[in-house]
Amino acid sequence: MRRALAGWAAFLVVAALVPLAIGGDRYLMLLANVMLMFMALALSWDVVARTGQLSLAHGAFFGLGAYTVALGHRYAALHPLLGLLLAAVVGTAVAAGLGVVTLRLRGIYFAIATLAFAEVLRTVAFQLPDITGGPVGISMPPLFDGDRLLSYYVAGAIFVVALALSLGVRYTRAHYAVTAVRTNETVAAAMGVPVVRTKVLTFAASALVATLAGAFYMPFITHTDPQDAFEVSRSVAALVFPIFGGIYTTIGPVIGTIVLRSFEEYLRVTPPWKEGYQVVYGAVIVLAVLFMPRGLLGLTQRVRAWRS
């Protein structure tokens, strides 16, 4: 545990120094900001996965965070940083409510319920144009007047919250609760583990982080609409990054995000891939899931086992 914490402290130091290496390049700073944001989202999804639940709502919590900040700014002139706090409260409360209703469902039924939740939020954002701007969307001024160095440290703070959650679940009694619940709910309950409470609390804490990621995205990107804020591909990204890196870990979602996001960006801007980059990207993910069932971490373990 000490070694892991020391490793993450070193990682944070390196991450804090990344802008120095980048210099003033606005494009690279954009990527660095978004990278931190996605790492937080991926970490938050993985925490729910540790209870054995497949969430397709993480993109929706992201969108909820984005709209909360934007609406807070429009109707209460709320500063985006205070908007982050408001979004965290809203996201946690909504997730707790949703969790109490749906987390008695197991496996695929919970996944479907979370997908439905995402659709509901998107439809609400569409259908209330007087409040949300409807399909046209909603805008707000850029965070710190578009200073991508300052915003990088805001994203970094959100990443630290995500990291604390992920490591906290790993190195406290929560680890034993979520692992028991994931492996066998019946036996877990007979051992005294409060199964539903474990799942609801984990889901709510996870949603807090996912909402923060979206709450950062909004003033960073300055405009969103229902299609963009509640994009299904973001829910998919939230689960693909951890699965690619290695689920039920802290390092897996982080590495998965770095590798896949970089790869996706490379394809997007490099000819000849840029025309159909999503096809190539999708194919790589399918192959990865088929041939690396435990992600990159599983791959390194297999190589090590093969060597010895």
Binding site: Y176, A188, M191, G192
Partner: protein, 253 residues
């Protein structure tokens, strides 16, 4: 006052009553054995008492208070511990980690470190001390039974329900297990056991209830029920003879 009381428990599966009006009491410190042919409803009765199944009728009282509506994890924390006939260890935790789950949640251990100490003590007690850091996948059947027992003990039960903990053990291992259960009982744990091995029932139980088709057909001491014609008929009518009933076993160490 009885420590544990079941009153008129009924549980139907698609109209078929697996448990059909079952009543019994367990006195503090007295071991009660539940025997009966396969399919008699013994495990279903355990599930009703531990809260994993809700009864269609009847009630369960523990220390005088009605726990019929309490959920399984609450009953465990109150002191109703159990093992499972089909042992299902948490595959992604090591041996001591499995026991720690019981210590942390059922047993109310204050910290992860305290839970680990308690779990290691219990691993020693059941004979898994040397294997505490093993992954559970590497355990033999008898070791899995030991782990199952250690996990249940970690929840600090007042009543420990044991669902065929002897199943799959050799006669020597059985004798060790009986000796271990005597030690556990000496620590003040009240045992409620489902058991097919009659020598174990004889050595451990103060009283025996016999179930058949979801009903209690006999109750008494081992000597009484082993002479009961209804009990003999229930067993002869099934393919399960009263294994171990004939050859006597050594007294517990």
């Amino acid at each position: 006052m009885a420590l544990l009381e079941a009153e008129g428990l009924v549980r139907r599966f698609r109209g078929l009553a697996a448990v059909d009006g079952l009543s019994f009491t367990v006195e503090e410190g007295k071991t009660l054995a539940v025997i009966g042919p396969n399919g008699a409803g013994k495990t279903t009765a355990f599930n009703l008492i531990s809260g994993l199944l809700a009864p269609n009728a009847g009630r369960v009282a523990f220390r005088g208070s009605d726990v019929t509506r309490k959920r399984a994890h609450d009953r465990c924390r109150m002191g109703l511990g159990r093992t499972f006939q089909v042992v299902q260890p948490f595959a992604e935790l090591d041996v001591v980690g499995n026991v720690m789950v019981g210590a942390l949640f059922g047993g109310g251990a204050k910290s992860v470190d305290a839970a680990r100490r308690e779990a290691l003590r219990l691993c020693e007690l059941v004979g898994l001390g040397a294997k505490a850091a093993w992954p559970v996948g590497g355990l033999t059947v008898p070791d899995r039974k030991r782990l199952e027992l250690a996990r249940a003990l970690a929840t600090r039960p007042a009543v420990l329900m044991l669902d065929e903990v002897m199943e799959g053990l050799t006669p020597v291992e059985e004798r060790e297990a009986v000796a271990l259960l005597h030690r556990i009982r000496a620590e003040g744990v009240t045992l409620l056991l489902i058991e097919h091995v009659m020598s174990t029932v004889r050595d451990l139980s103060d009283r025996v209830i016999v179930m058949d088709y979801g009903k209690k057909i006999a109750e008494g001491t081992y000597a009484e029920i082993s002479r009961d014609p209804k009990v003999i008929a229930a067993y002869l009518g099934s393919e399960e003879p009263m294994r171990g009933a004939v050859p006597p076993s050594d007294p517990p160490a």
